[in-house]
Symmetry: C2
Subunit: 330 residues, 2 copies
């Protein structure tokens, strides 16, 4: 599935919520506007990298699929997307080592401090908009989710180069840093403004499984994709010392000599392409296949939850979206 192909697939999947997606985008654009010229120059740029808006779509689809739609769902979806945008902007902050390594070769649009402030601005916009909604559920759930996202990211940063990490620890961190926002999107769709807590919890679990699968697929693509297909730098996890699930599998399957070579690929100075170095010393593809199988199982679990809903265009779209996450190559 090429870049263009996947866009078309996604647009077709989202047809049942297309008008609501339009409303979401209009709200998002209005929120990103700011009268300050310095800020609007930046947010214009941010507006251009809004991506697939999967999380916002999940709010809308989960609402439709559970028969829980309100006039405010589009705003809730926009808030979820704003929080996602804020995390993307903050993910771009480079640490000291990275600045020294990359600054010369990367054409950074702004510097670290500006990225911090711009992310903070987007978070603040998200929370401000949520406080205007008729129910406080969105503020409450998303403030907690944002905390969880941060905790996951912080945990991850302390586990760099940890080749002994268990799969359970990897999944816990990925659940926090990535899947929690997918879970919140599905829960809010099904529950907002208050609604059925039990149904909300089930949809949250579907979102969590999907988000975890998304993260695993992301980690695999960072190892296997070509830069021009993915549309972003590849091999960054290895460069940044992140030991992802496919690498954990490859490491565990390796003998002591290969393990030492894997550690060297991550850590030895002056390795020009760490990803290539990793492929040279162990069976990365087997690790990737094992990780992909886990992603498949997670999507199956999410699909099982979906299957408990009454059939509808929206539930079929959600099903398609879950498959899309698994098969995406960007």
């Amino acid at each position: 599935m090429g870049v263009k192909g996947s866009k078309a697939v996604l647009a077709e999947l989202l047809l049942p919520v297309a008008p609501e997606m339009e409303r979401m985008r209009a709200i998002l654009s209005a929120q990103i506007l700011e009268s300050s010229p310095a800020v609007s120059d930046m947010t214009d740029h941010v507006a251009r990298f809004q991506g697939k808006q999967l999380r916002g779509a999940l709010v809308l689809l989960s609402g439709e699929a559970t028969g829980n739609t309100t006039d405010e769902h589009a705003a809730v979806a926009a808030i979820v997307e704003l929080i996602h945008l804020a995390t993307l902007v903050h993910d771009d902050i480079l640490d000291g080592a990275e600045v020294r390594r990359r600054v010369a070769c990367v054409n950074q649009r702004w510097d670290n401090q500006i990225a911090v402030l711009l992310g903070d601005f987007l978070y603040a916009r998200a929370f401000a908009l949520s406080t205007q909604l008729s129910s406080r559920l969105c503020s409450r759930l998303l403030a907690d989710t944002t905390r969880t996202l941060c905790v996951g990211e912080i945990e991850q940063s302390t586990r760099r180069f940890d080749f002994e990490m268990s799969q359970a620890d990897y999944e816990k961190i990925a659940s926090q840093k990535t899947a929690s926002l997918y879970a919140a999107a599905c829960e809010l769709g099904a529950r907002y403004p208050g609604g059925n807590q039990e149904l909300g919890a089930r949809m949250a679990e579907a979102g969590r499984c999907l988000g975890l699968a998304f993260q695993i697929v992301d980690d695999c693509l960072d190892l296997t994709a070509r830069e021009e297909e993915l549309g972003k730098t590849v091999g960054t996890d290895v460069e940044d010392g992140k030991v992802t699930l496919p690498v954990l599998h490859a490491y565990r399957a390796s003998g002591e000599t290969a393990r030492a070579a894997i550690r060297d690929a991550y850590t030895q100075p002056d390795v020009s392409d760490r990803r290539a170095a990793l492929f040279a010393v162990c069976d990365v593809s087997a690790g990737v296949a094992e990780a992909e199988a886990r992603a498949r199982a997670l999507v199956d679990a999410a699909l099982e939850i979906l299957a408990t809903l009454p059939p509808s265009d929206a539930s079929r779209s959600m099903e398609g979206l879950f498959q899309f996450v698994l098969s995406r190559n960007q």
Copy 2:
């Protein structure tokens, strides 16, 4: 007033709200706790640099002084302090140039990415706690204030080396990046949970004047204080290209040759002590005196607003706190 002396002065000023300050600190400690060991290691450190807690104190004093006290004021004060802590943590993010310049000589406790996440975590905690309060006023006002803080910081970052900036522009930016949180603290004290909007607006204006005075005093201290007295690095504004009010005054009062020398002090490479270089080429002290006079006038304006309140221990404390901001040397 030495470090110890000023602490004692402040403690005495805050006597009318001492039990509430204790409650605020207990809430703050509980909010900073997190079960994740990676996070708690960092928040322990943050807890140690909580500083003077002026903004939290203003919530409590403004409440007492306007006769508007509730069981939730201590939590509102804690939320304001959490937001302030988050901004402090994010202020520590270094840009690429600073990393290259400072990383070798500064013993950074953590790297940029961790500081971003820790600040985000503190913001999220603040918003999460605010969503638990009985009234939404705190969430609403502080989400808007956080946005304003970010806009001010972003504007400031685009005005580096702008020696032609008007005093009005300087004050607008300082109002946004610093005074807005003082204003919100005073407004929330007087209004929370809903209350008198007109009184809230007046107290917000007092807070805004005070916060602006605080920023001007801060800018003067960065030029005049000795590091061991201030307890933090001095001369950072000049190092970072920030043209503060005292420098704007000194620049405006200088002839063309001195102006060029001022610009050189800020920009020429290999200047080892830019603050000293600045003092060598223009009358910084006169600029500082002019800025201090403006801070004095702002505090007087804030005191005039205070004078409209019925006399009480709390209003006298607030008066003392306003004077404290003016006379502080740390």
